[in-house]
């Protein structure tokens, strides 16, 4: 876990890609979950953030 935060701090690709993947996964879950409309409403911003992050961090060094 500390390796993960360390990777984030030092702008390493692996850790940030993981974070972006998690965001996308959460966003997709929020989009399709049957529990609360408010989660559905905010799903798109979360997915968008994850996707944009994914594109940006692919430029970070390994």
């Amino acid at each position: 876990m500390s390796k993960f935060f360390n990777g984030l701090m030092r702008l390493r690709r692996g850790a940030w890609e993981m974070l972006a993947t998690i965001l996308i996964a959460i966003g997709v879950f929020m989009l399709m979950q049957p529990f609360a409309l408010v989660l559905f409403t905010w799903s798109f911003p979360v997915t968008l953030l994850g996707t944009v992050m994914f594109i940006i961090v692919s430029k970070f060094p390994e």
Partner: protein
């Protein structure tokens, strides 16, 4: 292939130019070769995408091209993301996506695991099993409405034959309770071979010596299965699940032919709803925003997919 693409290019090019093409540096050849593809993709994919983004901020309607187009900012997005009906279509999609993936993974993996015993004729039977996957979903979906007919349909008759429930007593496509499962059944029928093929590739990538070592260590078959087989196949399974997940998230052709979204709105998947908004109600601006929401979701999943793809490639 009797004529290679390059032969025809060379014939179509005037001699002087052809001479110059032949003497080109590697760098220019690289650009010459890549740019037509990129240009085509820009014209067919990227330009329309940018246009969609632009439209998504307006109230444009394609059936009224001369009406005044107003800039509405984020209003379209706001309306879609607070609309319980659209949320409902997402849940219908989720039900379809989850259960069809679930059955495909369970059946597909089991089949791959059985086929991997390399019994006589396993290649032959694999080829047979794969057939449904390659067929046109619309044509096959249409024919399944025939198989699902109460009374005369083969599916209902098979159910009667196996369980004794009278064939005319239920309608897979007409009943609110059964229709969501009817589409899951057809999708599972069609795409289980896909998951099976990928799992089979995963199983075959496991080298024999690992099992031999485990046997020396006296690990039980059950333990071998959970500690070696499953972890080794998992990256492949991930790939299959992501790919099918993306495909089923945007599912249109098969389900539109099977149920058209009905009965009620029980099988109204999100792509079918988008089609209605865009091409029946002609709310172009609104449906452009809808399309962008779906697109971003698919694009995000595709990024993860490509990451998984590279992982499998390294094996």
């Amino acid at each position: 292939m009797s004529e290679s693409p390059i032969d025809s290019l060379a014939r179509a090019t005037p001699p002087a130019l052809a001479g110059r093409i032949r003497g080109l540096s590697d760098r220019s050849i690289a650009w010459l070769f890549v740019s037509p593809t990129i240009l085509l993709l820009l014209a067919i994919n990227i330009f329309p995408l940018i246009w969609t983004i632009r439209l998504s901020f307006t109230n444009f309607a394609a059936n009224k091209p001369n009406a005044e187009v107003k800039w509405v900012g984020l209003r379209n997005y706001e309306r879609i993301l607070t609309d319980p009906d659209i949320w409902q279509t997402m849940q219908a999609t989720a039900h379809f996506l989850f259960w069809s993936l679930f059955f495909q993974v369970v059946i597909g993996f089991t089949l791959a695991w059985l086929i991997n015993r390399k019994f006589r004729g396993n290649d032959f039977v694999t080829t047979l099993i794969v057939l449904p996957m390659m067929l046109s979903p619309a044509v096959v979906g249409n024919f399944w409405t025939f198989l699902y007919q109460p009374q005369i349909g083969l599916f209902n008759y098979a159910v009667e034959f196996l369980t004794g429930i009278p064939a005319s007593s239920f309608s897979m496509l007409g009943s609110v309770a059964l229709a969501p499962w009817a589409i899951v059944i057809v999708d599972t029928w069609m795409w289980t071979p896909f998951v099976m093929l990928i799992c089979l590739a995963g199983l075959r990538s496991i080298p024999d010596y690992i099992y031999e070592a485990a046997e020396v260590d006296r690990a039980s078959k059950w333990r071998q299965f959970w500690t070696m087989t499953i972890p080794m196949v998992l990256p492949f399974l991930m790939l299959a699940v992501l790919f099918r997940g993306i495909e089923n998230f945007k599912m249109f052709d098969l389900v539109v032919q099977l149920t058209g979204g009905g009965p009620g709105d029980t099988t109204l998947l999100t792509s079918i709803e988008l089609k209605r908004e865009a091409f029946e109600k002609w709310r172009t601006g609104y449906s452009s925003a809808y399309a962008i929401i779906l697109f971003v979701t698919v694009f995000g999943l595709a990024s993860i997919y490509v990451k998984a793809l590279n992982k499998v490639k390294e094996r």
